[in-house]
Each structure stands twice: as structure tokens, then as C-alpha cells.
């Protein structure tokens, strides 16, 4: 039943061949179609702008007060592109290969190749928009190696690459808003998908200011709503990031793929206490010069935890630079999942540092000695400042304390090669879909994927769908499906507002987060996951009987906003656990303790699990049904990842 619609033919020609074979919509007919874009981050803003330029009518929706604030803005490090400007051996195939390998062979070859192929166009487009990338003295674009890549293919704008790329896409979007081709709805949240005869035909939204529930009709709906990392309560996501739009679409028939693939980023500022509302990531470019270590012994670690010793008091021979020791060739630059897991191991052994003992050191003393403090400041100044603001510790004088945090979700709504979900006319772009990063995403590839999907893939593929509709007729906004869906949304809101128990929504969200982190975090076991499933089911019951939701619908009501989102996170959490339980192998960010090599590395079981898990919703409190998309590798050989 799952057809990935990957075109036949050699890998390198699939996309150009497919572009030719897809149907086009006559320029004069494009204005007869309306496309709904939910989310205005890199994927959403770039898609909306590009589609409007082609002549389609576009409506965009975001929960923030402006499209410019979508969480893509917080990406720091950079964006990959196979430009080979550095003459260091990069190519489209190498970027493709690195992405497939980095994803631990759990991504679809054809999609990843296309991503690498259009990566070069993204940089051209962004520069034309006036995105101020870093440059060399000769005026050419600068590149750096990022996240352990052996080539320098990462373009960057100081530590604010996501901001500059998003403002570029936002400016393109603004241009179309000004021309009247895009209608922008801010402070609006999508609460459901409207289907007519099985096709996506609109959405139901809530105006967060007035509470008004509205239906919007369109010929296609694009979900560009980001990832679901906030299921863990604490993550590096923005406070408002949520899964609701994607989850509602899932409940209307869109399969959800690989939900257990979450990325835990190694270089985040550790948790300090119960009051913590979110975690702050520091770009992993820090690992280019920082050295990760913990004390060799538990005794020394305890003294550090109690404040009896300082990091500088620990002698060189008493330090364990565990990444350098275990992975001599990649050292501190091993992929994110490997770095994270090793930090957790050190902490679990009792060798963690800081007051809580749940952190490891990231030390710049050697780099400062080698490069001088000024050079280090030039490279990482904004990150060091950020660290200082939050911790009140000076990283030029003492090592940073870091610990992994949830950062990105590789899983998401299942899409075919055209980025269409299993609901005709419903698409998913960027982090919202599952398609390009397999079980683990490489650094500087999220921005690339968001913009690739939005600027260069969807403008072609959505046209093919619309051209094949066989009609230019406007969507019938009086169709009963709109009224029915709107009523269902209102019923749910009323049910939420009727909750008047003793626990706040945040209490329940924190409980969910702890369950997920403990049992479905960096290391997972069948026993733990089974336990988590029961706990989440109980939590769901408790939510619907004992949560406290205040206020009314017709106002800015954060209590209500959060409640709706957390209710969906709880349901997603259960599916993540199901998925993690089903996948008895370790791969990428999904580490099952039962499946590891003798050296303690992730052990894939290719004979059994070389597939995408795509889950189908079957009704409230019914088990979801697993569908498998077999992954076929014709161009790369599956190997055990090794970074020794």
C-alpha cells in the first residue's frame, strides 16, 4: 500500500527525469488554485513565496505574531551545500553518501540524492536575496567543516545562519504578501484538517487572539510545522513548537513515520533545576576546538560535584578525554548520537561534573593556548557570551559544562518522493516530514532540507497534483465537511475548557517529558518501553480527568493553547514508544541496549529492519497499525558505521 513513487532510472537522473514527466499547470490557470501553507519557517516561508511567485494563491498560517519568528531562526551552525568551492573533494554524490551514512542507512536514497543535488541552488538563491553569509577577504563565500564532515561544505552567517536564512525566506514571503498573492494569518493555529472525498481540502484554525474558529479552503495543504521535540517538555525547541497540526493530520489519515527517531544534541547547557523551561543549544561547531572530558575516577568527579575541586585542579593524567580515547580518528567530532551516548555513559558511571553530576566538560584551554584568546573569541564569541549569560561562568577561564538535549526529530509525517502524505493533496515539508535524515541527521542539514523542500521541490510536485485534479473549480466552502470538522474542533475545545482538576497542564507535560526522557531517550530497552507505554496511557486518562484548564475560548488563552498541544503530545508519546519497541535494532539516534556491538556501538539489524515504519491511526485508544516501506539501497553499500 505504501508507494514511495520514486522514479525509475539511474539515481543522478531521477529528479530531472521526474521534473520533465510531471504535469504542468498553465500560467493562466495557476491563479485558480489556492494553496494553504501551515508554518512559516524555512520550509513554509520558502514554499509559500515560491508558489506565489508561480501565480498560485497562497494562505500562510503561523502561531507566532510574525512569520519571522518561526523556530528555524534559532539554528546556529550553518547550511550544507555540495558547491565544492574549497576544492577539497566534495560532490553531490559525497553529500548524498554522507547523509545516507550519517542517517545510519534508514533514509530513502532518491530523496537524499535530490536534496544533495538542489543544495547548490539554495545557496545561489539565498545570496541573491541578500543573505549575508560569511565571506573571505577576496569577497568569496567562506565555508567550514561542520559536525565531523571531512570536507568544508558548510555555509554560515556567524552563529546565526538560521536567522539569516529565515529572514531571507521571510523577505521573499513579504514580497508576495505585498503583491497580494499571499494572505498571511499570524497568531493562528491549525487545529484540524478538512477532507472532502478523501482529499485534503482545507483546515480549521483558531485565531489565538479572538478565539474565533475558522475554516479555510484550498486545493492543497502543506504542513511545514517543524518537529515534535517538545514531547520531552525540555528540549532546545521554542516554547510554542508543537505537533498538533501534524498529529491532527495523522488522525485524519496521514501515516506517521519513524516517530522514535529523535536527535539528542550533545552540546547543550545542562539542566539546573525543576524550574527549567527549556534547554539551550550551543552550536556543535564548538567541538571543532573544544575537548570533551570527565575525570578518570568517580572519587574525583564527586569532589568536583561538591565544589571541593575545580576543573583546573584536575591533573592532565586524571582526565579522560573519552571521545578522543575511543574514536582516535574522529575524536571530538564524532556524530551527534555517538557523542551524546558517550556523555550519558560517563554520567551513568558517576563521572559526571557540575553540581548535579549530570554534565561533562567541554574544554577550550588547549585551543586558547594554541590559537590565543582573541581567535577563539572571534570564532565562538557569541556562544561563549550566551553560555556566560545563562550559567554565570566564564568559559575562557574554566571549561564549559555540557549535556545532551533533545534537539531535532527525524521522524515525522510519511511522504512519498513528491512530499505528499498518504492523504492526497496533503504535503509535509521540512522537519515535519520524515524523509531525508534517516535515523540521525547530520549537522547543517536541517536548514538545507527545509529550503530544498520549499524552494525547489514542492513548486514542481504540487503542480503535478493540481494539474491532475482535472478541474479548476474553487473548493466548495459550503461543503458539509467544513462545518463538521469545525464542530469537532469546537467540541474538543469545550472539552478542554471543562477540565477543572488539580494538575496544571505543565505538570502533566513535565510528567510526560520525564517518562519520555527516561525510557525513550538516549538508550531504550523493551522493558523500559513497555513500562513507559503503561505510564503514558495512565497519564492520558489523568489528563482528561484531572487537568486544570482556565479561562474561555474568546480570548488570548495560553492555558487552552497549551492544553490542546499537550493532549496531542501525550498521544504522540505513546506512538513513539510503540515504534521504539517495534524497532529491536539500534540505529542512529535510536539506541536499543539489547542491540549493540561488543564495543558498545549501535548495532543495526539490516535483515529485519531496513524499512521505514509508518503508523496508521485506527481510532481513539485503538492500537495503531504498522505499515512498512522497504528501503532499497542500489547506490551505497550498507556498512556498520565506524568512527574509530
Amino acid at each position: 500500500m505504501l508507494d514511495s513513487k520514486v522514479p525509475a532510472g539511474p539515481l543522478a537522473q531521477k529528479w530531472s527525469k521526474h521534473k520533465f514527466e510531471m504535469k504542468l499547470v498553465n500560467p493562466a490557470n495557476k491563479r485558480k488554485f489556492t494553496i494553504i501553507v501551515v508554518g512559516t519557517g524555512l520550509a513554509g516561508a520558502s514554499a509559500a513565496a515560491s508558489l506565489a511567485e508561480l501565480g498560485y494563491n497562497v494562505k500562510t498560517f503561523c502561531y507566532q505574531d510574525s512569520p519571522r519568528r518561526a523556530h528555524s531562526i534559532a539554528a546556529q551552525g550553518g547550511i550544507n551545500a555540495a558547491k565544492d568551492y574549497q576544492n577539497d573533494g566534495d560532490s553531490v554524490f559525497r553529500l548524498f553518501y554522507d547523509t545516507i551514512k550519517g542517517g545510519d542507512y534508514r533514509a530513502r536514497e532518491a530523496n537524499v540524492y535530490r536534496l544533495a543535488e538542489v543544495s547548490t541552488n539554495i545557496i545561489d538563491q539565498c545570496v541573491a536575496q541578500g543573505v549575508p553569509f560569511a565571506r573571505e577577504y577576496g569577497g568569496l563565500l567562506d565555508n567550514r567543516s561542520f559536525g565531523g564532515a571531512q570536507v568544508s561544505r558548510t555555509f554560515y552567517a556567524r552563529g546565526q545562519t538560521g536567522q539569516q536564512l529565515l529572514l531571507g525566506a521571510y523577505s521573499a514571503l513579504n514580497r508576495q504578501i505585498h503583491k497580494g498573492k499571499v494572505k498571511s494569518y499570524t497568531r493562528h493555529e491549525m487545529l484540524d484538517l478538512v477532507k472532502i472525498d478523501g482529499q485534503a481540502r482545507g483546515i480549521v484554525t483558531r485565531d489565538l487572539v479572538t478565539g474565533k474558529i475558522e475554516s479555510h479552503e484550498g486545493h492543497a495543504v502543506l504542513l511545514c510545522t517543524g518537529g515534535y521535540g517538545n514531547v520531552f517538555f525540555l528540549s532546545t525547541n521554542a516554547m510554542g513548537c508543537n505537533v498538533t497540526a501534524a498529529w491532527r493530520a495523522h488522525k485524519r489519515g496521514a501515516l506517521f513515520a519513524n516517530p522514535c527517531y529523535t536527535q539528542i544534541h550533545p552540546t547543550c547547557i545542562p539542566v539546573t533545576g525543576d524550574h527549567q523551561s527549556k534547554l539551550t543549544l550551543m552550536s556543535e561547531s564548538l567541538r571543532n576546538d573544544g575537548r570533551v572530558w570527565v575525570p578518570r575516577t568517580v572519587e574525583l568527579a564527586q569532589k568536583l560535584q561538591k565544589g571541593e575541586l575545580k576543573a583546573v585542579d584536575i591533573k592532565e593524567e586524571d582526565r579522560d578525554y573519552f571521545l578522543e580515547r575511543k574514536y582516535p580518528s574522529f575524536g571530538n567530532l564524532v556524530p551527534r548520537d555517538v557523542a551524546s551516548r558517550n556523555a550519558k555513559e560517563a554520567v551513568d558511571e558517576g563521572r559526571g561534573v557540575g553540581k548535579t553530576g549530570v554534565a561533562v566538560f567541554l574544554d577550550f584551554a588547549e585551543a586558547i593556548g594554541r590559537l590565543g584568546e582573541d581567535t577563539v573569541r572571534e570564532k565562538y564569541g557569541n556562544l561563549f557570551d550566551m553560555y556566560y549569560q545563562i550559567t554565570d561562568e566564564n568559559p575562557y577561564k574554566q571549561p564549559m559544562r555540557i549535556y545532551p538535549a533533545v534537539h531535532y526529530t527525524m521522524g515525522g509525517v510519511w511522504v512519498d518522493y513528491n512530499l505528499m502524505t498518504t492523504v492526497p493533496g496533503l504535503y509535509a515539508l521540512g522537519e515535519c516530514n520524515f524523509s531525508d535524515h534517516g535515523a540521525n541527521r547530520l549537522g547543517a542539514s536541517a536548514l538545507m532540507q527545509g529550503l530544498s523542500d520549499g524552494y525547489f521541490v514542492i513548486p514542481y510536485t504540487v503542480g503535478d497534483y493540481l494539474a491532475n485534479l482535472g478541474s479548476f473549480a474553487p473548493v466548495d466552502k459550503n461543503h458539509p465537511a467544513f462545518e463538521e470538522t469545525r464542530k469537532e474542533v469546537e467540541t474538543r475545545i469545550n472539552a478542554l475548557l471543562a477540565l477543572n482538576g488539580t494538575k496544571t497542564v505543565d505538570d502533566l507535560h513535565k510528567e510526560l517529558g520525564l517518562i519520555m526522557w527516561e525510557y525513550c531517550g538516549m538508550a531504550r530497552t523493551a522493558e523500559g518501553l513497555t513500562k513507559a507505554k503503561g505510564l503514558i496511557q495512565n497519564l492520558k486518562k489523568e489528563f482528561w480527568s484531572n487537568a486544570k484548564v482556565l479561562g474561555e475560548n474568546e480570548e488570548l488563552n495560553m492555558s487552552l493553547e497549551k492544553a490542546g498541544r499537550v493532549a496531542d503530545f501525550i498521544e504522540l508519546g505513546e506512538l513513539m514508544v510503540d515504534d521504539a519497541l517495534n524497532r529491536r535494532e539500534s540505529c542512529g539516534g535510536h539506541f536499543r541496549l539489547e542491540s549493540q556491538t561488543e564495543e558498545g556501538e549501535a548495532l543495526r539489524i539490516d535483515e529485519e529492519f531496513t524499512y521505514v515504519s509508518a503508523w496508521e491511526f485506527k481510532g481513539e485508544n485503538q492500537p495503531e497499525v504498522l505499515h512498512k516501506e522497504e528501503l532499497v539501497f542500489e547506490n551505497v553499500k550498507l556498512t556498520q558505521r565506524s568512527y574509530k
Binding site: 515560491s50 519571522r68 536575496q129 541578500g130 565571506r135 568569496l140 514580497r175 527549567q276 523551561s277 539551550t280
Partner: protein, 257 residues
């Protein structure tokens, strides 16, 4: 070890854009100094929620100083007492036990209050929509390295481009002028080769929209620069004035030949 403090908050409460607002006194007790300011408000809201009272609405999202959503005037200062950071980056170690903290929304006619501490900043979006872009469609861009940009120029354009659109400049200005915000975007494009083609039209259109939104004029007090969390410089305003003057001096045909 982290110290704990008890604080008195005087918070602006306003039901919606139609109602009249007022300061309400709330206690914030047992606040750890390593909490962020917004986490302190989370705790206050948690207590209000448990008592069944309406929590204080404030805008925030990324909580790492980059999205530009958070917007509080704290003891008379946009984004609080420290320089170069947003409200969400402010930590309670900047306050002391027993202190009274006055918390208000941005105040400007062009930023109407929506509820409590949240304001409507869509006027900023409309200014950007008037001209804050280059007119290029997706596809067809030349190779990125065909445009050589001296590092000095690229770095200067970057400095202007770091504006997060929070509106602190407007809140800080006694005239509620948006010139720092507008000039940052105009400067970014005035500096870069990509922005040359339409530099004068852009300046004209963005300034006209700024005026239409009801932002005040600039009287060079420099409060905007002082309060800007991203260090956007006043020189941007000087450049904007030059661009605007250029737009007035040169007729269309002079610009395009």
C-alpha cells in the same frame, strides 16, 4: 549555590485591546537566582493557575534571544537592566531579595496592547512588506560566488541584518520611532550589491509605510541604540536618511538612466 529571593511585581494587566489596563501587585516568592526572568514569570503563573486565576500573558518563544518575540519593559527599561540581551536572556541574579519590579508591555501607538504584556507588532511586518527584499524569484539566481562582496562590506551588512524585530527600539524611544528597525533593513540592502537596483524605491516605500503606521520621528536621543539587544547602531539611521534623501533628489529616470 543559588540564592533565593522574594520579589514584589507590579505587572500591567489588561484584559484585551478594548479594555483599560492597570498595574496589579503580585508576589514572587522563593525565586532562585539562576532562573531566567521568564521562568520567574512561569512560576508566578503556575501559582495563579493553581488558584484558578488568569495567568499573566506575555509573548515569548525561543527563549534564547533570537526570535524577537519576548517584549517586556522591566523597571522602565526594554528587556530589563542589562545591555545587549533580550528579556528571555535576563536572569534573576540581576535582581536582589526584596526588590520591587515593574513590568510593562511595549508602549507605542503603533503597538496596541492585545492582552496584559503582549502587543500587536504587525506594523513591523507591514513595513517589511513594503520593500524589505530584493525582487528576485526562486530559481535562476546566478552562481553565488559570481557576486564578490568585500569582507568588510559583508560584515557591515551582517551587523545590520542581525536585527530581531523585537521592537525594543520603539519602546525605548520617547517618540516611539521605528527608525532603528527600518534603517537596519534599508542599510543591509544599501550596503550589498544585491540591493542596489531598488535601493531608493525601497527606502521610500519602507519609510512611507513607517509613517503610515503612526511611528514617531527621530530626535537623535540614541535610546534605541542603547536598548537594542543586538547592538544595531545609530549609523544605520544616518544611512537611511541618506537613502531617503537620495530617493527624493533623484527622479525615477535618473535612477534607472
Amino acid at each position: 549555590m543559588s540564592a533565593h529571593m522574594n520579589l514584589t511585581l507590579k505587572v500591567w494587566r489588561q484584559k484585551n485591546d478594548k479594555s483599560k489596563g492597570q498595574f496589579v501587585t503580585v508576589q514572587a516568592n522563593d525565586i532562585a537566582d539562576d532562573m531566567s526572568f521568564l521562568e520567574m514569570l512561569d512560576i508566578v503563573n503556575d501559582e495563579l493557575t493553581r488558584k484558578g486565576e488568569d495567568p499573566i500573558y506575555f509573548d515569548h518563544d525561543c527563549r534564547e534571544g533570537i526570535c524577537g518575540m519576548c517584549s517586556l519593559v522591566i523597571n522602565g527599561r526594554p528587556h530589563g537592566p542589562k545591555y545587549g540581551i533580550t528579556t528571555c536572556q535576563l536572569h534573576m541574579r540581576s535582581f536582589h531579595d526584596g526588590q520591587t519590579i515593574v513590568i510593562e508591555p511595549w508602549r507605542a501607538a503603533a503597538f496596541p496592547v492585545l492582552k496584559d504584556l503582549a502587543v500587536d507588532r504587525t506594523s513591523f511586518d507591514r513595513i517589511q512588506q513594503a520593500g524589505g527584499y530584493t525582487n528576485v524569484n526562486t530559481g535562476g539566481a546566478q552562481d553565488a560566488n559570481n557576486i564578490l562582496i568585500p569582507k568588510r562590506i559583508a560584515d557591515e551588512a551582517f551587523e545590520s541584518a542581525t536585527c530581531i524585530g523585537c521592537g525594543a527600539c520603539v519602546a525605548a524611544c520617547k517618540n516611539a520611532s521605528a527608525m532603528l528597525f527600518v534603517s537596519a533593513k534599508i542599510s543591509q540592502f544599501a550596503l550589498l550589491p544585491q540591493g542596489q537596483t531598488e535601493r531608493y524605491e525601497r527606502a521610500q516605500a519602507m519609510v512611507d509605510q513607517m509613517d503610515a503606521e503612526g511611528f514617531g520621528n527621530c530626535t537623535n536621543t540614541g535610546a534605541c541604540e542603547a536598548e537594542c539587544p543586538k547592538g544595531i547602531k545609530l549609523t544605520n539611521i544616518a544611512r537611511m536618511n541618506r537613502e531617503y534623501l537620495g530617493a527624493k533628489l533623484f527622479r525615477e529616470e535618473d535612477i534607472h538612466g
